[in-house]
Subunit: 357 residues, 2 copies
């Protein structure tokens, strides 16, 4: 199928709408990646690389500093809220906040800022919303670490156009509750795994997540069931029930400490970690981070969600989150972005990349 | 695919094993029905009808009484326990108890009892283990009620070769718990439907099912979760969780009363009935039932599971359960039948059908 056309001369909000209407739920980014590759391939001042559905576009002006500006192309499943609709100051629909508004800003900068004061590496990557081993940024970091080299990274995750430092870690766990199958007419012969799973849900409901201060910013933890399944047939007592749990933990805990904590909370149950990614401390003391934060203005905040800033900080590249959209609306049925934030992010970044450092 | 061969001269236990090894999980009975149709089609004293995967075979000797002997051909899903294995006095595997032991007995009587003292209608039907609207016996009762006419019906469900009277009613319900989706990093913006579903499971766990005496037999009720599902993605707070529940209720409750009871137990939750079948009172006072019970000997018991005796009693035909196999092992991973019970059931029925009434 031919890649759809993208017009990078469109204003950021209109480009955001176009990007959202090219549906790209995780694993299905190819059409969007193809469209971006075609458009950026025509931009004379950029050098392109591609790995799977991830595109890297670089200026090569020999500047002493290099900024990486990155955004993921995938979204969580569409909730019947595409195509997007424009209503007053907002664009509504899946991806408007997380994070095609930020992708639109980065695409416009890539196409139109020909001689930035720092070299720029633009990264548009796949599979951020699923298991971390599929993540396009992680894949490129492992296969081509030189493609991501830089002095500083800006991840265009939604922050309502303020600087958000660091991020919580995230861990996926399965709790498996076992029982004994039997005919449901003689339920007392069996042991009902779904009934027993209620005790796990009781623990989750009564758990009180902590708020933890790290380097001056406050991180809020969370322990949530994100999936449950069990049952064999309508007349069989179920012998197994599996609860999928997501733990969001402050960057002051290591992955090992986070796991230990969940195992303590769910003591007595069969807990298996299926995926995990560490958090990232804010790092605002670094001079280049401080300079960018000053250009944006306002008070930096803690990033609650896990983001790929952790992948940069893990290899020693300071990184912050900065992008249009209220992060509380990410993955929400009412997902919508304020167009003013799209314009503000583009303007701030353009100024920072074109006026003397 | 050609129907597999069945040898109705094999002793009942061997025939049971053959029947079990022709896998026939509900909806997949065609091969077994074809095989039975082929064998009974060769029996000179029987007249055959077929509807879907249900076979009806009748003697037509002009006797004043007609006995219906019925058994279902389908099983619940195979739990890795086929082909069957013979070990000492037992045959192990899916279907041995529920209810191919009884089907083997009925097939042998059909083939070999040429001049019974009562006319006999043998019924081998499909889809008993699934939603009641798929049930082959129900389908035939609606489309060809004359095919099932009789003075008395014996359903060869497992009873450990004793007479079990009546049956509990059964009802399937879905409880839907709703929440509000959000990114799991900002769980406090959403409302977790799976966590809330824990309150439903708490109700089920603390519910104390009644034991209710009806016409001298004691029926044990049960309220069991038989399925649960919920969750959108590993990083999304789930907005819905559905719990499937099975209620087994004493034949003294009507379906309406049963539904009212469950709605009371689950007050405050969104409950929808998806399937329902009434129970059946024991009916042991009826002369023909009493005569058969005397021929079997021992003390009649209450049938805990719902069975199709309810379909016969609903149209005024007294019916009992009588067949080989311990009903507590039905649907169990350890399902196994005692070969002595297969032989005893055949012998009792053959004697009752061939000696003067």
């Amino acid at each position: 199928m031919k890649a759809p056309a993208l017009d990078l001369d469109l204003p950021g909000p209109e480009l955001t709408a176009k990007l959202c209407d090219i549906e790209s739920v995780s694993g299905n980014e190819a059409r969007l990646t193809d469209a971006i590759e075609r458009e950026l391939g025509d931009v004379a001042h950029l050098f392109l690389d591609r790995d799977g559905d991830t595109i890297i576009a670089r200026t090569d002006l020999g500047r002493p500093e290099r900024v990486v500006i990155a955004g993921h192309l995938d979204t969580v499943p569409v909730a019947g809220n595409l195509p997007v609709r424009r209503q007053g100051d907002h664009i509504w629909g899946r991806g408007t906040v997380d994070m095609k508004g930020g992708v639109a800003v980065a695409l416009r900068l890539a196409a139109h800022v020909r001689r930035p004061n720092r070299d720029v590496t633009y990264v548009f990557y796949d599979n951020e919303e699923v298991e971390s081993d599929k993540n396009g940024l992680g894949r490129v970091a492992a296969a081509h670490p030189d493609w991501l080299a830089g002095t500083f990274a800006i991840l265009m995750e939604p922050t309502s156009a303020t600087v958000e430092g660091g991020c919580n870690g995230t861990m996926q766990l399965d709790v498996t509750v076992r029982g004994r199958a039997a005919h449901s007419a003689r339920w007392w012969v069996g042991s009902n795994a779904i009934h027993s799973a209620g005790r796990v849900l009781d623990r989750l409901r009564s758990y009180e997540p902590a708020e933890i201060e790290v380097d001056g910013l406050t991180y809020r933890e969370g322990l949530s069931a994100v999936g449950i399944r069990g049952g064999i047939a309508g007349n069989v007592i179920p012998d197994e029930c599996v609860i999928a749990i997501n733990f969001r933990f402050a960057p002051s805990r290591s992955e090992e400490e986070a796991q230990e904590h969940v195992r303590e909370v769910l003591g007595g149950f069969d807990v298996a970690v299926t995926d995990s990614a560490p958090g990232s401390r804010p790092g605002l003391a670094h001079p280049v981070v401080a300079s960018f934060a000053a250009a944006v203005g306002g008070e930096p905040r803690a990033k609650q969600g896990w983001t790929d800033v952790a992948r940069f900080s893990a290899v020693g590249v300071p990184a912050v989150n900065y992008g249009p959209g209220d992060p509380r609306l990410a993955h929400h049925d009412d997902e919508r972005v304020d167009v003013a934030e799209i314009l503000a992010c583009e303007e701030t970044l353009r100024t920072w990349l074109t006026t003397a450092p």
